[in-house]
Symmetry: C2
Subunit: 183 residues, 2 copies
DNA sequence: GGGCAATCTTTTCACTGTCAAGTTCGTGTT
DNA sequence: AACACGAACTTGACAGTGAAAAGATTGCCC
């Protein structure tokens, strides 16, 4: 009574990426395996290889997708007239809602080094962030400071290091980012 | 012409931890394996197991050691009369100099959950950090903000995301942390 | 000196990533 | 409409990994 699945999956690449997101949110990036993903999707153990070549290839694709999603979210908030604080809140919201993507994005030891799609997506997100502080003295320093603040909060929050508070993460970001970056 | 090494290593636990630090600084936490470490130290592949039980046990021990080292460094700077900015600089310096420890410390998916030695060491470091902002309105928020700022900078720096700048990392921290936390 | 427990080794097992070779299928060509 | 071509997937194999069990070696304490 096997389920008679067709030989061609249809959109295996998408399905594997989604399964990877699911697996990572459950067990972290270390607990994800190609064979396990293949099983979840209902495909032979070497099926994903054809789309990603490598485990590193899969995670690189995931990271690139993550940076693209992030860049979209940031672009959208500036298009809606948001200021720096709104940008920071959007950053944190992305990290919390797309925890799996976010965790992979900043682990270069899991990536295929120098992947063009990844570097392009990352640059897009970086530009969107830097645009929020372009009108300051020493904008480079300001952009690094702003990025550090929200990135640190996001990673600390996601790793559970801030678990003692029961406050709302976005409200916290809005509070201290506002007091630090709005003169 | 085998090297006639004695049956008992002497201090295998220490040696494995050191080898792990070396391996992680080279290939990242994903690229470290128990068998590989055993080889580096010159011991049978199951030797380390007796000291750490698990791969998770090894990494948990490393993380605990890291938090202890960090707490020591922070305590030392307050003992030397340092202010918040000095604390932040010490944090970043630790992350850069003990990159391997630092990378493992904030990856709870690699830890044995609820390990007492780890949680105690982490609390010690947390207390040392929070002590720097105890005299502010809403000290909890201030401590989270300060921690986020330096932690974010440290991780971004270590992952190479800030590679475009050739400035000195400590000087950068001192610059923006000063402008943000000294009234 | 004798025994005991800690330390390390050997063997084995299930599992993983990767490669090479085959099989099935959509798609465009004529 | 038949066909061939290439993309998508499967099958089978291999080396390497983490973990567990059982055996060998040694320092140490009475």
């Amino acid at each position: 009574m096997t389920t008679e699945r067709p030989y061609h999956h249809g959109d295996l690449r998408r399905a594997v990426l989604d399964a990877a997101v699911e697996a990572i949110t459950e067990h972290g990036p270390a607990g994800v395996g190609l064979r396990d993903l293949a099983r979840r999707v209902g495909v032979s153990h070497a099926g994903p290889v054809h789309h990603f070549k490598d485990k590193a290839g899969l995670l690189t694709a995931l990271a690139a997708e993550g940076f693209t999603l992030l860049a979209d979210a940031l672009d959208q908030t500036v298009a809606a007239g948001g200021d720096i604080v709104d940008l920071g809140v959007a950053y944190v919201r992305f990290a919390v809602e797309h925890r799996a993507h976010f965790e992979v994005m900043f682990r270069p030891d899991l990536h295929r080094p120098g992947d063009p799609a990844l570097t392009e997506a990352r640059d897009r997100a970086g530009a969107a962030l830097a645009g929020g502080v372009a009108d300051r003295p020493d904008p480079e320093l300001a952009s690094v400071a702003a990025w550090s603040l929200v990135h640190g909060f996001a990673t600390l929050w996601n790793t559970g290091a801030l678990s003692r508070t029961d406050r709302d993460p976005e409200a916290m970001v809005r509070a201290f980012a506002g007091s630090m970056f709005l003169t």
